[in-house]
C-alpha cells in the first residue's frame, strides 16, 4: 500500500479534455512522449493528472504504461474519458462503461462499480478502426479495452473506470465529427466527469497506506527479511503508542546497532501490550 494518491484522467485527444484542463487550470508537466498535465491539489484529495495518449489501443496502452511507471509510488485511480459512438443514445449523453468487449478478446470485462454513479451503465465495444457499424445496444470506441488491460496493472479494478460521451450514432455518423464538436460535447459533461473523478479520488484515499511513523536508521545493519520484520513490528507498535511514546521508541530504534536485538526488543514491547477499545479504528472509506 502506498501513502500518496493520484487520479489520472486518460484521453485519446486533447479536445476531449480541454474543458477539464481549463477549469482546473492544469499545468503542463510533459510534452513527450505524451502530453501530461497536473493539478497539484484536486479538492484536497491528492493530485490529478491528465494524460493525452493518442487514438487507438496501442497508443493508450503505451501512454498508461509510461505514466504508470512515473507514478509507481502513488496509489492511483484511472479514469478514461472520451467520445464513443452509440447504437441508440443521443449525441451528448454520457455513460459509464459497465461491460467492456473487444472484437479481438474472447471474454467480456465488467469493471466493478463502487464509486457513486454519475452516469448510466452501458456496454462498450472496443474496435480497431472508426466505424459506422454501431452495436444494437451499447457504445463503440477505440481505447477502452486497452485502457482496462493496462491500467489494471497499476491499480485496483474499482479505481479503473471509463466514462464515454456519445459523439456519433446512426443518425449522426462519425464522419460528421470535428474538434470543435468534440470539445463542445465534452464541455457539457465536464462537471459530472469531475464529480465522478472526485468519487474515485475519495475511494483511492481510503485505501492509501498511512505513513510510517517510525523510521529505521540507515546505519542499522540488517538483511531484507529483518527489515521487513522490523517494519512490520514498528507499524503494529505505532498503533498503540501516543506521540511521546513514538518519539521515545524512535530514539531506541536509532540507538540500535544489531537487528536481532532490535526485533527481540520490539517483540517484547508488542507482547506487553493489552489493547483497549477505541485505541485505533478503521479509517472508514
Amino acid at each position: 500500500m502506498k501513502n500518496q494518491t493520484a487520479i489520472v484522467i486518460v484521453s485519446a485527444l486533447h479536445c476531449e479534455v480541454k474543458a477539464i484542463l481549463d477549469v482546473l487550470k492544469m499545468r503542463k508537466l510533459y510534452a513527450k512522449p505524451f502530453d501530461m498535465y497536473v493539478c497539484d491539489d484536486f479538492n484536497g484529495l491528492g493530485e490529478l493528472y491528465v494524460l493525452v495518449g493518442g487514438i487507438g489501443k496501442l497508443n493508450t496502452a503505451a501512454a498508461i504504461g509510461w505514466c504508470g511507471a512515473l507514478l509507481q509510488d502513488y496509489q492511483t485511480a484511472w479514469l478514461n474519458v472520451g467520445i464513443a459512438g452509440h447504437g441508440s443514445k443521443e449525441i451528448g449523453s454520457a455513460f459509464t462503461v459497465g461491460r467492456s468487449d473487444d472484437t479481438t478478446l474472447a471474454r467480456a470485462y465488467f469493471p466493478p462499480q463502487v464509486a457513486k454513479r454519475q452516469f448510466p451503465l452501458e456496454a462498450c465495444l472496443c474496435v480497431a478502426e472508426p466505424t459506422s457499424n454501431y452495436p444494437d445496444t451499447g457504445g463503440v470506441d477505440m481505447e477502452s479495452s486497452a485502457f482496462y488491460k493496462v491500467a489494471l496493472r497499476f491499480s485496483y479494478p474499482e479505481l479503473v473506470q471509463s466514462v464515454k460521451v456519445v459523439s456519433d450514432n446512426p443518425s449522426e455518423p462519425v464522419e460528421q465529427l470535428n474538434t470543435q464538436k468534440i470539445q463542445k460535447l465534452m464541455h457539457s459533461q465536464k462537471q459530472r466527469v469531475l464529480d465522478f473523478a472526485e468519487q474515485l479520488a475519495k475511494l483511492t484515499l481510503a485505501v492509501a497506506c498511512p505513513k510510517n511513523k517510525i523510521i529505521i536508521p540507515d546505519e542499522l545493519r540488517c538483511s531484507h527479511s529483518q527489515v521487513r520484520i522490523i517494519k512490520d513490528q514498528l507499524k503494529r507498535l505505532a498503533l498503540f503508542l501516543d506521540s511521546a511514546e513514538i518519539e521515545q521508541l524512535q530514539i531506541a530504534v536509532n540507538e540500535s546497532t544489531r537487528a536481532k536485538q532490535l526485533t527481540s526488543f520490539l517483540q517484547s514491547r508488542l507482547d506487553g501490550i493489552v489493547p483497549s477499545i477505541g485505541m485505533s479504528g478503521d479509517r472508514r472509506g
Binding site: 465488467f110 507499524k235 508488542l270 489493547p275 485505541m279
Partner: protein, 335 residues
C-alpha cells in the same frame, strides 16, 4: 442500497430473481453469463467494494451442502452447512470472508429449490440415526440480514418443517425476524445469534445491530416459542474484556430463559493465515488484527495464553447461568 445488480442469463427468469429485482427498481441491471466473471475476477479490493457492494444473482451448481469442519458441532449427529449467499451486509473486522473471497459483492444463489433438494437427500441419508442432522446457514453470509429482499428464511423454514430428523440453524446478527414471528415456531429450527458486548460490537462489527437490539430480537423469538442459540464467537480480547463480557452475559441471561437456550458457543479470534494476511493488509490500522496473535499450523489465532484465559473466563461467566451440556467451546489447539 444496491445500485448495480448483475444477473446470470440463466437466473433472469427465476422467481427469486424477479422478487429481488422488484425490490431495487432504480438499480442498473447488467446481464452476465456466469457469476465468476464478476465475483471471481482478479485484483478486486474487498475494502473498497465493501463501501458500496453490488448484488449478483446466480444459480449455484455443484456442491451445495458441505460437511462442517470436525470441531463445529452443537449437539447434533452429522453437521453440514450450505450458503445460499456469499458475503454479508455487515462488516465485521474478524470475518474470514474478507480474506477468503475476492469480491465484497453480495452473491445470492436464487435456486433455493436445488439447495432444498440436496438438503433433503442428505437428511434422508441420516434419517435413522440417533441424533438429528444439523444444517447450518450463515457461515458465508448472515442468515436473516437480507431477509426482506431474499425471503430466504421464510422459504427454507417452511420446507424444513416437514424434514425428518434434521435441524436448521440460522446464524445471524440481524433483527430481521418478522418473517419468523409471523408464523408458528418450528421445532427443528434454531435461530442462533452472534452476540458481543456493545463496546466491541460498535468498534468491530460495523453496520450490525447493537447488542441491545440483538438481545431484544432473541427475547421476542424465545417468547414466541422459537429455539434459540447464542454465539460469543469470537470473544474479543481487550483490556476491559472481563467487565464488558460479564455485563453482556449478565444482561443476556437476565433477559432470556437460560434453561431454554439450545446452546451457547464460544471461540477466540482465528483465521486461516492467508485470509488473515489479506485482511491485515486491507486494514493495517485495526488494533484487533495487530496484537496478541500467533500463527500455528496454517492458522492465525490468539496466543495460547490469551485464548485460554479469555475462553476460560467467559466460559465460567456463562456457566453461572447455563449447564455444561449447553456450552460448546471452540479452541484453536483442538482444530
Amino acid at each position: 442500497m444496491v445500485d448495480t445488480i448483475y444477473v446470470e442469463s440463466s437466473a433472469l427468469e427465476h422467481e427469486i430473481s424477479k422478487r429481488v429485482l422488484s425490490k431495487y427498481p432504480k438499480a442498473e441491471v447488467v446481464e452476465i453469463s456466469h457469476y465468476g466473471e464478476v465475483f471471481n475476477s482478479t485484483g478486486q479490493n474487498f475494502r473498497i467494494q465493501k463501501s458500496n457492494p453490488s448484488l449478483i444473482l446466480a444459480r449455484k451448481e455443484g456442491a451445495r451442502v458441505i460437511s462442517t469442519p470436525a470441531q463445529y458441532e452443537t449437539g447434533g449427529g452429522h453437521h453440514y452447512y450450505f450458503s445460499h449467499m456469499l458475503n454479508c451486509v455487515y462488516d465485521c473486522r474478524y470475518c474470514f470472508l474478507q480474506g477468503m473471497l475476492r469480491s465484497a459483492n453480495y452473491l445470492l444463489f436464487v435456486n433455493y429449490e436445488d439447495f432444498l433438494s440436496d438438503i433433503s437427500r442428505v437428511a434422508n441419508e441420516h434419517i435413522h440415526e440417533e441424533k438429528p442432522t444439523w444444517f447450518f446457514s450463515g457461515y458465508d453470509c448472515d442468515s436473516l440480514a437480507y431477509e426482506p429482499i431474499t425471503g430466504f428464511a421464510d422459504h427454507f423454514v417452511s420446507k424444513f418443517e416437514s424434514l425428518p430428523n434434521s435441524v436448521l440453524e440460522l446464524r445471524t446478527k440481524s433483527t430481521q425476524i418478522r418473517s419468523l414471528l409471523s408464523r408458528k415456531p418450528v421445532d427443528n429450527i434454531v435461530v442462533a445469534f452472534s452476540l458481543a458486548p456493545d463496546q466491541v460490537a460498535r468498534e468491530i462489527e460495523h453496520g450490525a445491530p447493537s447488542f441491545e437490539k440483538r438481545l431484544k430480537a432473541l427475547e421476542q423469538l424465545q417468547a414466541a416459542g422459537w429455539r434459540i442459540g447464542i454465539r460469543f464467537d469470537p470473544v474479543i480480547w481487550h483490556a476491559e474484556y472481563l467487565q464488558n463480557y460479564e455485563r453482556a452475559i449478565q444482561q443476556t441471561f437476565s433477559t432470556l430463559r437460560a434453561d431454554a437456550i439450545d446452546s451457547v458457543t464460544l471461540g477466540g479470534f482465528r483465521m486461516p493465515k492467508d485470509f488473515y494476511k489479506k485482511t491485515q493488509e486491507m486494514y493495517p490500522e485495526n488494533w484487533m488484527l495487530n496484537i496478541g496473535l500467533e500463527q500455528k499450523q496454517g492458522m492465525v489465532h490468539y496466543r495460547a495464553d490469551i485464548e485460554s484465559q479469555v475462553l476460560q473466563a467467559v466460559g465460567e461467566l456463562c456457566l453461572q447461568h447455563i449447564d455444561q451440556a449447553q456450552l460448546f467451546v471452540y479452541r484453536s489447539d483442538a482444530s
